[in-house]
């Protein structure tokens, strides 16, 4: 019997892989995202200059062979800052969405399985947190604690955790009504067993899609709060901070702010399209 289950799972995986490859957007944007992640991870090896070295006789230079994306007001190489800044932006986005999922997923599953009064009050709390405009809340938290990478991650996680909780609860409510959960409940399975054994495996795929869509949004929030001055502090770089630094030189050196913005756009585009594609791949009603 276990062999039959295993081969069925294997067949399903093959089918999903085929469906994914059949979409043209999936492999393309997936590959692009991998490239983006790889070059930012390898930033120290790939960057032509140090991200904080100031070439003071080369300030605000347009793109050239020596400085492929030009230099900023302090004569720092923009390509190097972009690569190093990408590490921070990507790290902040992935870690904060991961942390938000780690908090929100169990809360949502427990809330959905509990039902009744406990569920209602947990959701009141979630809705209350969701009422705060996200950038405003993340900005206030990180500025009041004191700006640093860890605080930015914490602030974005606080903004995202209730989103993940609400989504997980919605998915849990669907699974809860299925006959196999009812059967497990009838045999006296504990809440923990129900959640880990039956609910979690069945909501994992949509959660993953939701989390990946969250990464793009988290990158936008990081950029916003760094732009407002409560995020990553100079001389370190993040894409949001680079836009802030270039904002004042739009009339004389627009490339300073254009490159990091385009990088955020590319990251968010890849993550969003990939997330949408994976959702379609898992949805048997969508023909690919």
């Amino acid at each position: 019997m276990t062999d039959a289950v295993r081969s069925a799972a294997g067949e399903r995986a093959t089918m999903l892989r085929r469906r994914f490859l059949r979409t043209r957007t999936g492999p393309f944007f997936g590959g692009l995202l991998l490239v983006l992640i790889t070059v930012t991870i390898l930033a120290p090896l790939l960057a032509p200059h140090s991200p904080i070295r100031q070439y003071l006789d080369h300030t605000l230079e347009p793109p050239s062979v020596r400085f492929p994306l030009g230099t900023d007001d302090l004569g720092r190489d923009l390509l190097s800052r972009l690569l190093h800044g990408g590490r921070i932006t990507l790290l902040a986005a992935f870690v904060s969405v991961g942390a938000a999922t780690a908090i929100g997923l169990p809360v949502g599953m427990i809330s959905g399985m509990l039902g009744g009064r406990g569920d209602i009050w947990i959701m009141h709390g979630v809705n209350a947190l969701l009422s705060f405009p996200s950038v405003l809340l993340a900005f206030a938290i990180s500025a009041l604690i004191g700006p640093s990478l860890a605080v930015v991650v914490l602030a974005i996680s606080i903004v995202f955790a209730p989103r993940m909780a609400r989504f997980a609860r919605g998915q849990t409510l669907v699974v809860r009504e299925t006959p196999f959960v009812e059967a497990a409940r009838a045999t006296g399975a504990s809440l923990r067993r129900l959640i880990f054994r039956h609910v979690l495996p069945n909501i994992a795929a949509p959660m993953l899609v939701e989390a990946s869509l969250g990464v793009g949004y988290a990158a936008l929030i990081e950029a916003s709060i760094s732009f407002l001055g409560a995020g990553i502090q100079p001389p370190r770089s993040s894409w949001g901070l680079m836009i802030k630094e270039g904002f004042g030189y739009m009339d004389s050196a627009p490339w300073v702010a254009i490159a990091p913005g385009a990088a955020i756009l590319l990251l968010t585009l890849c993550v969003n399209v990939l997330g949408d594609t994976v959702r379609d791949v898992f949805d048997p009603k969508v023909r690919l």
């Binding site: 209602i120 009050w121 009141h124 709390g125 809705n127 209350a128 947190l129 969701l130 009422s131 705060f132 405009p133 996200s134 950038v135 405003l136 809340l137 900005f139 206030a140 938290i141 500025a143 009041l144 604690i145 004191g146 793009g216 936008l220 950029a223 916003s224 732009f227 407002l228 001055g229 409560a230 949001g240 836009i243 904002f247 739009m250 009339d251 627009p254 702010a257 254009i258 990091p260 913005g261 955020i264 756009l265 590319l266 990251l267 968010t268 585009l269 969003n272 399209v273």
Partner: protein, 309 residues
């Protein structure tokens, strides 16, 4: 529909905790500039502010003052927080309302256009454009728009605010056009997506076939029969998007130097003006809840099948 009263209560609790649990308090912020001050002065100030009392007591007292509209005074200007917020509120309302109007005025026709002929060239073009629009950081878009239309072409003023009462609507609109576009870009895309998928679904329904069969011109079929049904969910989502718009408004106001709530809160937070920060954050949450309530009410009005008992 979310239960408003308990959520509002929890919102006030969260706003209270935001400035109470985080490091530093009003007194240390107040005394940040005065170094080497007698510690007894600090102690007496803490007593005066009531910071020596237990947290639950302070929360209930704060809630009591809040219920009569007393949000405290700004640590910097010593003005009542409520007055400060009310003075800045019109700018943010004009910015947000204009962005909502623009997103519907542009998004609905484009969505209909795409949804009428799914998979046509127009549809594909719009959906590619939509993917780009969602991924664009709004403040970066604002900076680019300002650079192109104000600095390079000189068609529009790049920043500043002109009140509609003193300067008339047109001068105000000229100054607000770029902020409106910046803030509404992401919303336009959302509206296009939603109207498109709604239209695609509606156009296959029986009542549309009936309307066509009885010889109504296509224009009437689309604008009267289809649109009415497509719009209902658009209204709800617009109501739910007010929170997002307020988030965006913070950054847009900073870029275009608009004296609204966004610039107010950024100044307040960076200078550790706790009461103002708390007031603005609270106002943002209450506005978000209010907007979703309004959307619920409109929803019932537009769709007679929905009744709240």
């Amino acid at each position: 529909m979310i239960a408003t009263a308990p959520v509002l209560l929890l919102v006030t609790l969260a706003a209270f905790m935001l400035v109470t649990l985080l490091p530093g308090d009003a007194v240390s912020a107040l005394l940040a500039s005065a170094e080497g001050l007698d510690p007894r002065v600090e102690e007496s100030l803490r007593l005066q502010f009531g910071l020596d009392r237990p947290l639950p007591v302070r929360y209930v007292q704060w809630l009591g003052r809040l219920s009569v509209g007393d949000l405290g005074r700004s640590l910097l200007s010593r003005q009542p927080v409520l007055d400060t917020i009310l003075a800045r509120l019109p700018v943010t309302i004009i910015l947000t309302a204009g962005a909502i109007f623009l997103s519907l005025a542009i998004g609905i026709p484009l969505g209909l256009l795409a949804g009428m002929r799914p998979n046509s060239l127009v549809d594909r073009f719009l959906s590619a454009f939509a993917a780009l629009g969602v991924a664009t950081p709004s403040f970066w878009l604002g900076i680019l728009l300002g650079f192109v239309f104000a600095q390079s072409l000189g068609w529009l003023p790049s920043f500043g605010y002109r009140g509609p009462v003193e300067n008339g609507f047109w001068l105000m609109a000229q100054h607000m056009l770029l902020p409106w576009l910046t803030l509404s870009a992401a919303r336009i895309v959302e509206v296009v997506r939603q109207v498109r998928s709604g239209t695609v679904e509606i156009m296959t329904q029986d009542f549309i076939r009936t309307a066509r069969a009885k010889g109504l011109p296509e224009r009437m079929v689309v604008w009267k029969h289809a649109l009415k049904n497509v719009l209902v969910p658009v209204i709800t989502v617009t109501g739910l998007a007010v929170g997002h718009l307020l988030s965006g408004a913070v950054v847009v106001e900073v870029i275009f130097l608009l004296p609204g709530m966004g610039t107010l809160v950024v100044e307040a937070v960076l200078q550790r003006d706790f009461p103002v920060t708390q007031g603005v954050v609270l106002t943002g949450a209450v506005a978000t809840i209010g907007a979703s309530l309004m959307a619920d009410a409109l929803y019932g009005l537009l769709d007679p099948r929905i009744r709240y008992d």
